[in-house]
C-alpha cells in the first residue's frame, strides 16, 4: 500500500490540504464543534467530571473499610455498587477517554502537523456518543434499585441475578447499554486517531520522526479498536441473557428455591471475552502514558530520548504481546495447567520490552540537564510507581503465587499502582506540560508542587500498606471483616490509616482543579513555547492554536523530535520544523 521512496528522490508535491469546516455560529464553534482541540477539551472535561464521581465513590468505600460499622448508609449492597462504579468509571470512562479522546484529539493533529483530524464530523459524533454513554451510566445512580453492584468485571451469573444490586433492576442494563454506546463512540474516534496518523502527517514527518507520544496513542488506539469489540460482544450477549432470557453465559441455576429459565451457559466464556478486552485495556491506558512520559523526560532533561528506535519497537511489541496474556486474569477459574503455564510465560515475556522502556527513561535522565518542573516531577514519579507496580505484577503473573494472592488486597494494591496511580500521574504531568499550550497561561507552580507531593507521597502511603494487608490475607471485595484471624488489630489500624490518606490525597485533587480554573485568568503568561520544546505543537503561530492549527502554511519537518542540547546549535533545542544542519559530534547510537 505504501511505497517507499528513496531518500534522494525528488520531494513530491505538497500534501493535499484538507478542507476545513468553518463554524458559522457560537453553537458550532464551541458546542457542536468539529475542531479536534475543542473536542479534546470536551472529552477531558466530561472524563474529569465523571472521574470526580468515581473519586467520591472511593472515599465512601474507604470510609467503610477503614471504619467498619460506623456508617449505616453504606450497606453491603451500596458498597458493591461503589466498587463497581468506581472501577468501571476509572478504567473506561476516565482513563481511556482522557488519554485517547482528550490527549489523542488535542495532540495528534498538532504533533503530526495536520490541520485537524481527517474525519472531523465523525470525531464530533464520537464525543457526543461518549457523553451519552456517560449520562446513561450516571443515570443508573437514580434508577430503581441503583447502579449495578456486580464488580467492575461484571461476571455472570451473579451480575444478572436478584442477589446482586441492580441485577434484576435497571442497574446492569444501563451499565451494558452505556458500555455498548461507549464502544461505538470510541470506534468513531479511534478511526480518526489512526487514520490521521497514517494519512495526515505533514511533509517530512516520517513514522520514525513522530514524537513518542503519538506512537503511544497511535498503538494504543489500534489495540483499543481490536480489543473493544470483545467487550462489545460480551455486553451484547449478557444483555440478551438479562433482557431476553437466553443462556449464553447463564448456567442452570436455582435461585430462592426456584429454577431459573436459564441453563447450560458458560460463565467462563464471558471471562474469556471480558479479559480478551480487559488485558489489552491495561496497555491501552499504559502506552499513551509511556509515550507522554518519554516526551516529558526528554524535554525537561534537555536531552534526546535514549534508544528512540527501541522505544518505538517496544511500544509496538507490547501492543502485540498484550493480546496473548489475557488468561492470566483467570488463573483461579480452574484452567488446564498447561494453559496457565503458557499464559504465565507470555506474561513474563512482556516484562522484557517494558523493562527496555524503563532503562531507556533512566538512561535519558543520565547526565541530563534535569529541570525539576512540575511535569518532570510527575514523570519521574511515574517511572518509580510503574516499576513498583510492575514488580508485583511479576508475582501475580506466576500461577502458584497468584492463586493464594488472587482474592486479597494485594491484587488491589498491585493494579492500583500499575494502572491507577501510574497513568494518573502521567495525566497530571501532561496537563501541567500542555496546559500552557491549551490556555496560553502556566499553571501555578506552588499549587502544582503541593499537588504533586501530596499526591505522590499520599498514593504510596495508601497503596504500600495495602500490599502488606494483602499478604496478611485480608480478602478484597468484602464489605466488612469482623472477628477473623486475618483481621488483626494492626490490620485494622492500617486500614484506618489508608482511609485517612485517601481523603488527604483526594482533597489535594481539589487544589489541582482549583489551579486549573484559577490559572485560566491569573496564571503567568506562557508564550508560545514555555518549555523550549521541539515538537510541532509548540511551534504554532498562535497560542492557543487557532482553528486550522498552523496558519497559512503547514510546517515542514526536517528532523526528529528530540534534538535537545545538540552540540554546535545556538540554542539547546532545535524545533522539528527548523531547516539546516548543525555540525554535531553525536556518535551513532
Amino acid at each position: 500500500m505504501v511505497d517507499i521512496t528513496p531518500a534522494d528522490a525528488v520531494p513530491p508535491a505538497e500534501v493535499a490540504e484538507m478542507e476545513l469546516y468553518h463554524p458559522h455560529s457560537w453553537w458550532t464553534k464551541y458546542v457542536f464543534s468539529q475542531d479536534a482541540k475543542v473536542i479534546a477539551i470536551q472529552y477531558s472535561a466530561t472524563a474529569t467530571a465523571i472521574g470526580l464521581v468515581a473519586l467520591v465513590l472511593s472515599w465512601l468505600m474507604r470510609l467503610q473499610l477503614g471504619f467498619p460499622g460506623t456508617f449505616d448508609f453504606i450497606s453491603p449492597e451500596a458498597y458493591y455498587q461503589f466498587i463497581t462504579m468506581h472501577g468501571m468509571i476509572m478504567v473506561i470512562y476516565l482513563l481511556t477517554a482522557l488519554f485517547l479522546g482528550g490527549f489523542g484529539n488535542y495532540l495528534i493533529p498538532l504533533m503530526v502537523g495536520a490541520r485537524d483530524m481527517v474525519f472531523p464530523y465523525v470525531n464530533m459524533l464520537s464525543y457526543w456518543i461518549y457523553l451519552l454513554a456517560v449520562l446513561v451510566l450516571a443515570s443508573s445512580f437514580f434508577a430503581p434499585g441503583g447502579p449495578t453492584g456486580a464488580g467492575w468485571t461484571l461476571y455472570p451469573p451473579q451480575a444478572i441475578m436478584t442477589g446482586t444490586p441492580g441485577g434484576q433492576d435497571w442497574g446492569i442494563i444501563l451499565m451494558l447499554v452505556s458500555l455498548i454506546l461507549f464502544i461505538i463512540g470510541f470506534t468513531m474516534g479511534g478511526l480518526n486517531y489512526v487514520v490521521t496518523v497514517l494519512q495526515a502527517r505533514t511533509r517530512g514527518m516520517t513514522l520514525m520522526r513522530l514524537p513518542l507520544t503519538v506512537w503511544g496513542i497511535f498503538t494504543a488506539t489500534v489495540m483499543a479498536l481490536l480489543a473493544f469489540p470483545a467487550l462489545f460482544v460480551a455486553c451484547v450477549m449478557m444483555l440478551f441473557d438479562r433482557a431476553l432470557g437466553t443462556s449464553f453465559f447463564m448456567p442452570a441455576i436455582v435461585e430462592m428455591g426456584e429454577q431459573l429459565q436459564h441453563g447450560g451457559g458458560s460463565p467462563i466464556l464471558f471471562q474469556h471475552l471480558f479479559w480478551f478486552f480487559g488485558h489489552p485495556e491495561v496497555y491501552i491506558v499504559a502506552l499513551p502514558a509511556f509515550g507522554i512520559v518519554s516526551d516529558l523526560i526528554s524535554t525537561h532533561a534537555r536531552k534526546n530520548i535514549f534508544g528512540y528506535r527501541m522505544m518505538v519497537w517496544a511500544i509496538v511489541g507490547i501492543g502485540a504481546l498484550s493480546f496473548v496474556v489475557w488468561a492470566h486474569h483467570m488463573y483461579v477459574s480452574g484452567m488446564h495447567p498447561y494453559f496457565g503455564f503458557f499464559f504465565a510465560t507470555t506474561t513474563l515475556i512482556i516484562a522484557v520490552p517494558t523493562a527496555i522502556k524503563v532503562y531507556n527513561w533512566v538512561l535519558t535522565l543520565w547526565r541530563g540537564d534535569i529541570h525539576l518542573t512540575v511535569p518532570m516531577l510527575f514523570a519521574l514519579a511515574f517511572i518509580v510507581t510503574f516499576v513498583n507496580g510492575g514488580l508485583t505484577g511479576l508475582f501475580l503473573g506466576n500461577v502458584v503465587v497468584d492463586v493464594p494472592l488472587s482474592d486479597t488486597m494485594f491484587v488491589v494494591a498491585h493494579f492500583h499502582m500499575v494502572m491507577g496511580v501510574a497513568p494518573i500521574l502521567v495525566i497530571f504531568g501532561a496537563i501541567y506540560h500542555w496546559y500552557p499550550k491549551v490556555t496560553g497561561r502556566m499553571l501555578n507552580e506552588a499549587m502544582g508542587q503541593f499537588h504533586f507531593w501530596v499526591t505522590f507521597l499520599g498514593a504510596y502511603l495508601i497503596f504500600f500498606p495495602m500490599h502488606y494487608i494483602g499478604l496478611m490475607g485480608v480478602p478484597r471485595r468484602y464489605h466488612e471483616l469482623t472477628a477473623t484471624t486475618v483481621m488483626t488489630e494492626s490490620a485494622h489500624d492500617l486500614n484506618a490509616f489508608i482511609s485517612i490518606m485517601a481523603f488527604i490525597v483526594g482533597f489535594a485533587q481539589i487544589v489541582f482543579l482549583f489551579n486549573l480554573i484559577w490559572s485560566i485568568r491569573h496564571g503567568r503568561e506562557a508564550g508560545g513555547n514555555p518549555w523550549r520544546a521541539t515538537t510541532l505543537e509548540w511551534q504554532t503561530p498562535e497560542t492557543p492554536p487557532a482553528h486550522g492549527n498552523f496558519g497559512k502554511e503547514l510546517p515542514i519537518v526536517y528532523r526528529w523530535a528530540y534534538d535537545y542540547s545538540v552540540p554546535g546549535a545556538k540554542e539547546d533545542f532545535i524545533p522539528q520544523n527548523m531547516p539546516g544542519s548543525f555540525e554535531s559530534s553525536r556518535e551513532p547510537a
Binding site: 489500534v222 479498536l225 437466553t246 443462556s247 429459565q261
Partner: protein
C-alpha cells in the same frame, strides 16, 4: 478463542508488512535537517476515506471473529442442539451476491464515467440488499413458526444474534448507499461519486464475505472444517 487469534494474526501480519515498509530501521537522530532529507509521501496514495473504511472493516471483522469464537466455544457444551437452516437462506445468499456484483458494476462504470450504469447499479444493489434483509426476516419468521425460539437453545440464540448483527451492518450500509444514490441523481462531482461508489462496493464485498463465513458457521461446515484443522495439528 482460536478464531479471533487467527484473525488477529492476519492483522498482525498485515501491520508487520506495512511497518516493514516504513523504514523502521531509520536512525532519525542522524538525519540532518536538509531539504533532501524529506521523505515522502507521508501517507499512502490511497484516498484517506478508503483507509478509514479499511480500518473500520478490520474492526467489524474483529467483531464477527469474536462472535465466531464465542459460538464455537458455546457449541462445545452439552446442551447445544443445531437448528435446521431455513431454505430461504440460500436465496438470500444469492441475492446478496447479486447486490455485490451490482455495486462492482457501478464501481467500474463510475471509473468509466457512465453515469446511467452507475445509477442502475446503485439502485439494483440497494433493492437486492433490501431483498436480502426481507429474506432474513422471512427466515426468522419461519424458524419462530417452527418453534425454534430465541431462548429455547443457544444455537437458536446465536442464530438470531449473529444474523441480526449482520443485518444491522447491512442496514448501516444502506444509509450510506442511499446517500450515494441521491448524489448520483443530484449531480455530485464525478470524482466524489466515484469514491463513494467504491467505498460502498468495498463495504458490500466485505459484508458478503462475512455473510458467507457466518453462513458456513451456522450451517455447521465451519465447525467441521475447524475440527479437521485441529486433528491435523494434534
Amino acid at each position: 478463542m482460536s478464531v479471533i487469534l487467527v484473525f488477529l494474526l492476519v492483522i498482525v501480519g498485515f501491520a508487520g508488512w506495512w511497518l516493514s515498509h516504513q523504514r523502521l530501521m531509520a536512525k532519525p537522530w542522524l538525519e540532518q535537517g536538509v531539504i533532501g532529507d524529506i521523505i515522502g509521501p507521508e501517507g499512502s496514495t490511497l484516498p484517506t476515506a478508503k483507509i478509514g473504511l479499511g480500518v473500520f472493516l478490520a474492526v467489524v471483522g474483529c467483531l464477527f471473529a469474536l462472535f465466531t469464537s464465542a459460538y464455537l466455544m458455546r457449541m462445545a457444551l452439552s446442551d447445544w442442539q443445531a437448528l435446521p437452516l431455513p431454505r430461504v437462506l440460500w436465496f438470500n445468499t444469492g441475492v446478496l451476491v447479486l447486490s455485490s456484483i451490482a455495486l462492482q458494476c457501478a464501481s467500474v462504470a463510475a471509473r468509466r464515467g457512465q453515469i446511467d450504469t452507475v445509477r442502475l447499479g446503485l439502485v439494483t444493489a440497494g433493492l437486492t440488499a433490501l431483498a436480502f434483509l426481507v429474506g432474513q426476516l422471512v427466515a426468522w419468521r419461519e424458524l419462530t413458526a417452527d418453534g425454534y425460539l430465541l431462548t429455547a437453545n443457544p444455537a437458536n440464540s446465536f442464530f438470531y444474534l449473529i444474523t441480526g448483527m449482520h443485518g444491522l451492518h447491512i442496514l448501516g450500509g444502506l444509509v450510506a448507499l442511499s446517500r450515494t444514490t441521491a448524489g448520483a441523481w443530484n449531480g455530485a462531482p464525478p470524482e466524489r461519486l466515484r469514491l463513494s461508489v467504491e467505498l460502498c462496493a468495498m463495504y458490500w464485498h466485505f459484508l458478503l464475505f462475512v455473510w458467507l463465513a457466518i453462513f458456513a458457521l451456522l450451517a455447521g461446515w465451519a465447525a467441521t472444517f475447524i475440527e479437521i484443522c485441529r486433528q491435523l495439528l494434534t
